[in-house]
Amino acid sequence: MNLSDDFAFTQGSLGDYADCARRFELRFIKRVRYPALEVQDALGFETRTRQGARFHKMVQQHLLGVPAEALAASLADDEELARWWANYLARGLTDLPTQRLSEITLQTHLAGRRLVAKYDLLALAPGGRAVIVDWKTGARVPSQSSLRGRMQTIVYRYVLAQAGAHLYAGERIPPERIRMDYVYVAAGGERVSFAYSAAQMREDEALLAEMIAAIDRAETFPLTDDARRCRFCSYRSLCDRGGAGRLEDFDFDEYEYEDEEIFALDFDQIAEIEF
């Protein structure tokens, strides 16, 4: 057993394992924080990731009742983000069921482990469709086949089918009612959709269960043989795998936007109180 009993798998951690077992070990078992740069143009990268995070936050604010105009007024100094926002307003919510839940996390269990998915948006009509929406801010729209094989596509649909009943009038959501949409707001709001089926769910379950079991069984976590996977990995100096990659080559499409870490400042942290 390599992981703590309460470890929760996500598409990100499974994706890391698929890319490089060593990275998975450093990040999730040894919990090493390593501050090397992901790309050479660090400020450019930061600007881009912060734009992405802010876009996700804005959508959440909008769906919770903050008027679109108020949010748009805050974008005077960021043309690119304003363009994404306009695309979102024009096409982002088209043809979606009206019960909409943003930034919601669901969990199920598989192979004795928790499996967690954090959704940008779930749009549901109990008894009807259940649509997963994931906002993408990358400029290039990947091919359907590459998106289909992504861990995110596999995990998100599976977890919703397994754990979404309470959002669907208490009924387990039939896989056939589930659809996953990637919406490319930097590419005019283009949408790439994936349907789901019971057969696909069984296939996904077998794949995920095998991956989880393999990680639990693993005695070693070897470094990937494919050095290209190390270009944007912050552990590469630890593994002697070259320098930082170029910003132009970075695939923001696979970047996971987490909320910037919110420090929950509590009064008891005030330094003057020394006990």
Binding site: D6, A42, Q61, V66, S74, A264, A271
Partner: protein, 702 residues
């Protein structure tokens, strides 16, 4: 899973549409019931997203987090866990564009900037230092500036937590405490500074904790969209430790309770030991009337009868009455040996802890060693004593600040070398330490030689500049080659006219050089973690200042950052989050830190029982926890009698809280001469002596 008592089971099984008030003494099993109630709600089909667990401090949420993470069979959403700090931050951020204008921010169309503690100190310095210098404020107060500013922050936080305008801080303090003109001036100065800082924050979209809370209370919670969201989402409320929470939290919870389908509110009797942090157990009781079911759990599952008697007897000596008493002899729960000198006492404590662990088979995590303050010297003595005896330990007060860690110091020194335009060259001593840490295998002597020969005019010269071959051989060419790589890296950076943001500089030199094979941070996980902490601190600083530069003149961020580190304002926080606790280990901690973890143990050691720190407040001339509390009557004067009475009450509550988290016995660490060589005469010592004399007298009369 623990088997519940009949009383606990009855509460657990109450219908899911009841609001329940559950009170009793600490150790009565309230949290156990609440954890099970959460699981019961989930098992009954209640959506996890609709459950809010609310605690006064994150550490109190641990039992819930453990239970929820252990639920490998749960399918569904996630339960929310919040303090008033985390909830208000999230809500202000989400609904910012609805309320920023009415809350008085000058740039409501721009994003808010939430300040960490160190950034509050930084901006406080920027906002009020010119005023303090110009008008000679606080000239009669003999404490350093960071502590002085932190008390102004403390006043503002108290105002927000208790619910009075910050404009009343000065008048409240003056009417209760100002015995002369000089003292009145100090409170006036504190008031002026608080107002100046608030104006500065409003002008620059900055939110310290007090403003964040005020904006949440006055504007977000009043906004229909925000209320709709919170009331619609959280239908089931679990509150743990309400008596330790502040009036702001209690008011919010009272309001939220109205729309909740179910609630379970836990209230510890005879507690409220976080009063100095704004806890208000009296105001907390107002929520009781809002609950349909009032339940109690009276019996302790923790204390043995002797420990129970000890807690009651000590509290009684201090005039604190308790709801439950025991007939047992409290002396049977006390173990003490008097020592002449402090180090002897420390060694005795380590010996006794080791005896319990080794000879009696007590798990080390069932032993805690507590003191009112944990000085570096005391901590070192205890750690050394335990380590010599092979007993694992952990502490919640690591001895070093981030800026003092070798990896962080190295990065800061290299930053100074790389930025000669700052005019802050490092000292020779710092360069020696940086070279040692940066180059794998370089010892002190060689690092000193390299510095003496090659650190010239604020730059590192090439190894070839060491003219004597004998000296080069002494240093070794291998080390010389790696030294050159470092010097070249820095000189290329300088000559390239490059000026990275400070955090990016740290990351670039970390990834490009220091973590490479042959250098000091390679394969060093601790150095990586510490460097990451420094990067986080510097990045947060840059983001806040970048944001400010939209409104103010440009600032040299790197230079300002390093200056603030030097002054102890930035990177001065203790490293807490990433230091892994060894589970099976003796905890060494300040007494209040232990209490706030709310985990009972078999044995407690109370050290330095002669110290006045057990009962007396810190010297804080600019603030006052009681005068700025909700219960303080307007216009009343704080007297020496009040101070004495408060010290007794504080100590009485503390001792009750400690004994209620102790199963078997308390060891007292006493030495005739204190750590600093004086004969101690603190209230705890006096109380214990008084109790033992009284019990001896009573025994004679029997």
């Amino acid at each position: 899973m623990i088997e519940l008592s009949k009383g606990q089971t009855e509460i657990l099984e109450l219908p899911l549409d009841r609001r329940i008030w559950l009170e009793g003494m600490a150790g009565g099993g309230k949290t156990t019931v609440a954890v099970r109630r959460v699981l019961h709600l989930l098992a009954s089909g209640v959506p996890a997203e609709s459950i809010l667990i609310f605690v006064p401090q994150r550490s109190l949420a641990q039992p819930y987090i453990r239970a929820l993470r252990g639920l490998t069979s749960h399918r569904g959403g996630q339960v929310s866990i919040h303090t008033i700090g985390s909830l208000s931050l999230q809500m202000v951020e989400t609904f910012w564009f609805l309320i920023a204008g009415q809350a008085g921010f000058k740039h409501p169309q721009d994003l808010p900037n939430f300040l960490s503690l160190e950034l509050v100190q930084y901006f406080m310095t920027r906002a009020i230092e010119p005023l303090v210098d110009k008008r000679d404020y606080f000239s009669s107060v003999r404490i350093d500036r960071p502590r002085l500013y932190s008390q102004i922050v403390d006043n503002m936080n108290k105002a927000a937590l208790v619910g009075f305008p910050i404009s009343e801080i000065g008048s409240r303090l003056k009417s209760a405490l100002a015995s002369g003109v000089e003292q009145a001036h100090i409170f006036d100065d504190a008031q002026t500074c608080a107002m100046a800082f608030r104006q500065y924050c409003l002008k620059h979209n900055l939110l310290d904790f007090s403003l964040q809370l005020e904006v949440f209370r006055a504007h977000v919670w009043a906004a229909p969209a925000a209320r709709r969201y919170l009331r619609g989402r959280y239908r089931h409320l679990i509150v743990d430790g309400l008596e330790e929470d502040n009036p702001a939290s209690q008011e919010f919870l009272k309001d939220l309770l109205e729309s909740c389908q179910s609630a379970l509110i836990l209230y510890d009797r005879d507690a409220g030991f976080r009063r100095f942090l704004g806890a208000d157990p009296d105001s907390a009781r107002r929520l009781r009337e809002r609950c349909e079911v009032k339940a109690t759990l009276e019996d302790s599952f923790v204390m043995g009868p002797e420990v129970s008697a000890l807690g009651a007897a000590l509290a009684g000596q201090l005039g604190v009455t308790v709801s439950v008493e025991s007939e047992a002899d409290p002396r049977r729960a006390l173990i003490t040996v008097a020592h002449r000198y402090h180090p002897e006492m420390v060694d005795w404590v380590a010996e006794q802890a080791a005896f319990l662990a080794r000879e009696r088979g007590v798990p080390p995590n069932e032993i805690v060693i507590l003191a009112p303050f944990l000085s570096d010297a005391l901590r070192f003595g205890l750690v050394d004593g335990l380590e010599r005896r092979g007993i694992p330990w952990r502490t919640h007060r690591p001895s070093r600040a981030l800026r003092d860690e070798p990896a962080a110091r190295t990065l800061l020194t290299l930053a100074r070398l790389a930025h000669p335009q700052w005019g802050l060259p490092p000292t020779d001593f710092d360069v020696v330490l940086a070279l040692m840490a940066a180059i794998d295998g370089l010892d002190l002597v060689r690092a000193k030689l390299l510095t003496e020969m090659l650190y010239r005019e604020d730059r590192l010269l090439q190894f070839a500049e060491v003219h004597s071959t004998a000296m080069q051989e002494r240093i070794t060419f291998d080390l010389g080659e790696r030294y050159d790589r470092l010097a070249n890296w820095l000189n290329r950076y300088i000559d390239g006219g490059r000026a990275d943001a400070i955090d990016i500089f740290f990351r670039r030199i970390f990834g490009g050089l220091l973590s490479r094979a042959g250098f000091g941070f390679h394969d060093d996980i601790d150095a990586g973690n510490i460097s990451m902490n420094l990067v986080d601190s510097a990045r947060e600083f840059r983001w806040a200042l970048d944001f400010m530069s939209r409104y103010d003149a440009q600032i040299d961020l790197g230079l300002d950052y390093v200056k603030m580190v030097d002054r102890g304002v930035i990177a001065n926080s203790y490293l807490r989050d990433w230091i892994a606790d060894v589970e099976e280990s003796v905890l060494i901690a300040p007494a209040y830190t232990f209490l706030l973890n709310n985990r009972p143990v078999d044995y407690q050691f109370w050290l330095n029982i002669g110290s006045e720190g057990w009962s007396r407040r810190l010297y804080q001339p600019l603030t006052h926890p009681h005068v700025l509390s909700r219960g303080w009557p307007p216009g009343a004067v704080w007297s020496e009698d009040d101070e004495q009475a408060m010290n007794r009450l504080t100590l009485g509550r503390l001792l009750l809280a400690l004994t209620r988290r102790c199963r078997k016995a308390v060891y007292l660490g006493y030495s005739e001469l204190s750590e600093s060589g004086y004969e101690p005469r603190g209230l705890l010592l006096e109380t214990i002596q008084g109790l033992l004399r009284r019990l001896a007298r009573e025994e004679q009369h029997v």
